[in-house]
């Protein structure tokens, strides 16, 4: 399925997505190994693109998560998408057409901020809080940008790759473990 097919499936709204790099979903390359539809979105066009997808029939945002690519060997990205440390992954779902669409947004390490999707999909509230809590990526205009899983006075963001696993001292007779 090429770009033309994808544009047709998005209900014509994809015409507005000028700076969206669309991968070739039929290509059995490493970008989409299982034939899933993947689109790469720039940070600037993030909310507009997601809004156009919602208007194009993707009623539900089923998942929003983040990946820390610090120190990861070169990952396959389409031309025109510069790799950054963080990548926010949004999984959209169309109940009517029974389709999924995955959007991947590059978020730089120096300025880990994205606009919130709360206005488009209110269901992303918990998910964005989780991403902030565990990765430190902030979401602008989120109604309640606080930690959700970790205690509120916790330091650091545990799912970052440069966050050590840590060790809680436990009184055992043997020497402490390898970590």
């Amino acid at each position: 399925m090429g770009r033309a097919a994808l544009v047709a499936r998005a209900g014509g709204h994809a015409a507005q997505m000028t700076d969206v790099a669309l991968s070739d979903a039929a290509d059995p390359g490493p970008v989409a190994p299982s034939g899933q539809q993947v689109a790469f979105v720039s940070r600037e066009a993030y909310v507009e693109t997601v809004t156009s997808f919602r208007d194009g029939g993707y009623e539900m945002c089923s998942d929003l998560c983040c990946v820390d690519y610090l120190g990861c060997p070169e990952r396959p990205l389409p031309a025109g998408v510069a790799p950054e440390r963080f990548e926010v992954v949004v999984n959209l779902l169309s109940l009517e057409r029974r389709e999924r669409m995955r959007l991947r947004v590059q978020v730089p390490e120096a300025d880990p901020v994205l606009p919130s999707l709360f206005g488009v999909y209110p269901g992303t509230e918990n998910m964005e809080r989780e991403v902030f809590d565990l990765f430190g990526v902030r979401f602008r205009d989120h109604p309640d940008m606080t930690r959700i899983l970790m205690p509120e006075e916790w330091e650091g963001h545990p799912l970052r790759k440069d966050y050590s696993v840590g060790r809680v001292p436990v009184q055992f007779k043997a020497a402490p473990g390898p970590r």
Partner: protein, 452 residues
Amino acid sequence: MKRVTPPEAGPTSSLMVHETPEGAQELQDREKTSPAALAVERGSVLRLPEGPVLDPGDIDVEFGDDETMIINMGPQHPSTHGVLRIMMELEGETVIRSKPVIGYLHTGMEKTAEELTFVQGATNVTRMDYLAPLHNELAYSLAVESLLGVETPPRATWIRMLMSELNRISSHVMWMATNGMDLASTSMMIYGFREREMVISFFEKTTGLRMNHDYIRPGGVAADLPDGWEDDVMAIVETIPGRLDEYDEMLTGQPIFKERTEGVGILSPELAIAMSATGPLLRASGVEWDLRRSMPYLAYDEVDFDVIVGTVGDTFDRYAVRLNEIRESCRIVRQCVERMPSGDFRVQDKKVTPPPRARINESMEALIHHFKIFTRGFEVPSGEVYVAIESPRGELGCYLVADGTNKPWRLHVRAPSFVNLQCLPPLLRGGLLADAIAVISSIDPVMGEVDR
């Protein structure tokens, strides 16, 4: 409280310091709460995108702070299904605002997953949703297999389907039990545990464990079904429907139960979709969405079953949807017993599945393969995939990123309870405190999955 600081101060150290000036997780007084957060806590999320930003003065002008009080429910409370804490602002007995505060069971399982090989990973994910462990293993295994390009043999697929439907029965029956206890029907609790015990006994016979089975693994299942499994399974699916009729008599038509559940905590289909609710919560609101039917995985497109849909979306509908889903699961289990194909129960790919025990004694290569799989594991080609299945609580997704090594680069689990829990403020708003118990129970949160 133990604080962990990063080991070395790299160029990112400025990002790693205390970084939550946004405030506390708890429900605050109105003056300290932003208008947007206030709207969320009042459950009026759907109005936000259209209208202008709400003025705090417009909200609940009839109540002052001195007329209301903020109370805690949980984290230690028998009706909160684990360590769920809900803060509510009450005016008399009416809930004005509410906010679930979670994280008490957070054990960093997604971080742990990055330290475990793909072989060990199933033992980690199975501990997330402890009432439906086989569904967790299934989502994880499907994601790994999708990246590996491994196709499981038909018998493995049907065993997986059989086991996950039995697990759905045990999970829903367990929900019937706890829901009954929440609504002061203690006999229901005993009955629910009795029925669950039948399924759990079969799991113990098959997998060796009552929970945390590690039975569904990448490449197939860990062991074939035990001898005489048909009789055990048929005994379950012949007993359970009769017991469900007893539940019907005891709860469905009972005036006290109906009084406590009908019209309580109504979730409209628009709101359910906007809040990303899935599972029985979404179906009770009248949206016909079941991944087994809509996006079939395993062999669900070959079996005959109905998707149960509610009409009103209240607590009673959520009860009725789950009750009838048990009946549908029994139907699927019967078809699995009838149509179970013969053959291998795991893929015969020596790089993915260990050789049979008998082969290890006589073959050097088998011993090497066995050793390599359990020490180093197998390597998964780099890529990323999102796989979703229908767990008893909704869409259980697994987003897996592999970098070509034997450990996942990132394993994210989209937990249905975690997302469904967001629906609480709109469901509780305007209801009585006593109804809150019924509503929380009807969402069926499993805190092991919410906090991961």
